[in-house]
Amino acid sequence: MKDIQVIESTQTTTRQKISAKNVKVSYGETIAIKDVSVEIAPNTVTAFIGPSGCGKSTFLRCLNRMNDTIDICSVTGDIRLDGENIYDRNVDPVQLRAKVGMVFQKPNPFPKSIFDNVAYGPKIHGLARNKSEMADIVENALRKAALWNEVKDRLENAGTGLSGGQQQRLCIARAIATSPEVLLMDEPCSALDPIATAQIEELIDDLRQNYCVVIVTHSMQQAARVSQKTAFFHLGSLVEYGDTDQIFTAPVDPRTESYITGRIG
């Protein structure tokens, strides 16, 4: 795969947050991902783009072992978070997911109050010693998710009563509350209207200050707007990976170019 050489030269000075080597994923007989290697830098937004069914979401779900919940799914290869193999036998996916949070395609707030939605993660991981600490964590997370001002007077209301965009920001707040190091976002705006999308995109840009963000998107414009690095997936393999500017202006691989210009996908 020629795409791998591209990154070797650009990113050697900074330590990588996540490095994946030769990752293969299969669902029973069907192979979803073949031989993907990627290095993801801290404090950047990395976008995975590609036509639907290309394996970008599957790969994202490998990064916090969400694929473990699917029985027939098997993952091989090597994925390291801060140098530690996350598929090591000693790694508990529960601890891993506390470090690598996830936001899903459809806003999925729990049928609880707004407060309890955000407090859920800290509660199960035991991050707060008392009520006031918990309140601080919740407020902090909601502020970071740019939702605090809208909901501070109705924290006891059901999270499901918010608008779609607010629900998604609530889900982001919920993920932030466990103080993860990486945030995975699986098409976080696909179920939202343009205004809510703009708000979330703005938020993603802010989040870069504190977190390593990986976002899967089917919208190339979105990738161009929010990300610094972009990876293009096609038919289960990583075709090209590099700076977003470079991918969109001077793609190396002809397939990337076809996709960017709208000829495939």
Partner: protein
Amino acid sequence: MSKVTPSLLVRDDRTKRRNAAERRFRFYGLGAIGIAALALVVLLTTVVSSGVGAFRQTYVTLEIALPEDKLDKTGTRDPDLMARVTTFGYAPLLRAALIRQLAELGITTDLSDKHIGEMISKEAVATVRNHVLANPELVGTTLTIDVLTEGRVDGYFKGRVTMESAALDGNTSPEALEIAQRLADLGVIKTRFNWRFLTAPDASDQRPEAAGLGVAILGSLYMMLVVLVLALPLGVAASIYLEEFAPKNRLSDFIEVNISNLAAVPSIVFGILGLAIFINFGGLRQSSPLVGGLVLTLMTLPTIIISTRAALKSVPPSIRDAALGVGASKVQSVFHHVLPLAAPGILTGTIIGLAQALGETAPLLLIGMVAFVREYPAPYSETAGLFGEAATALPVQVFNWTQRADPGFAERASGAIITLLVFLAIMNIAAVLLRRRFERRW
């Protein structure tokens, strides 16, 4: 975020505790399944082990002398005149036969003649009498016939009665059982498969060994026929109306609520309905399979409607659209296209509804089906009409036998349960096979 990030490779205490809680929780779930499985196994094994004896019965081979001077004083061999000799006239003959056979076989005993006679079932006397009345030419000869032994002798060979329990029992004695054992060693007493249990009518309190399920099976069969003939068309018609034609209005809503509520009304309430409406108000006959069938029809109707509607729903709208598109009317599209496609599902639901009706007991108690019935009910008679003759039903027969004092009836009740469960198993397997065979994925 100035947080020291601990290594992923080390599990912290909290994670360990959480994982332990996870394992406990999983174990509770497994435990619940285990409890259910255990309950099922215990339930079935106790019923089968205590009821399997009902399918075997102990018989004694008697050589009965049939003297003319006792049985046919006129010498005409006219069955009507011979019928004047009641069972009291026959009982001494059977007793004498057994006593003589004991002597011939060299079995000596301290037991009085009366007690020896009591080893033979009271039913046996009637059996012999009926046999002689049917074959008058036998009078004056010696009849060799297998007759039922008394319930406790039967129980002894099935392990229900032991020497210890016999010593405490006024109706039998260890001596009698010893004789029975020696007769069995000599092949005079034999235990064999008990067809009578499935064919004979019920018997009185004193003779559990003679009690059978014939009338109950017939009664259940008649009721199932009534249920099938009424519930299937009614249920299908109601489902078609609600699923395909009902306008969205108050009346349809009201009917829907009624059906879902009826599905959850206690079955005994249907018994009260049957008693008050069909018997008291409508003047139909008590204990009749017709009333039983009507009550069970109303009870199973919601089940059949719910499954039929599911079957109709699973036929995709494109089929209806296709029919309507070529100019068929709504009625034609439903009867020509939707209904045939939904038929397997409807049939499966009907069988399951029938199985439910077959096992139902409580409502039948109230409409008088607990009565003691020894006559096989005819499906139609001049006096009682269609399915009007008194009958019992399988589950009610079980209840009936549990209320009897003689422990022999406990075995009969469990045996009846086995029979009932076999019928239910056959129906359910049929439903499953039907579903597998015709299941369609759209």
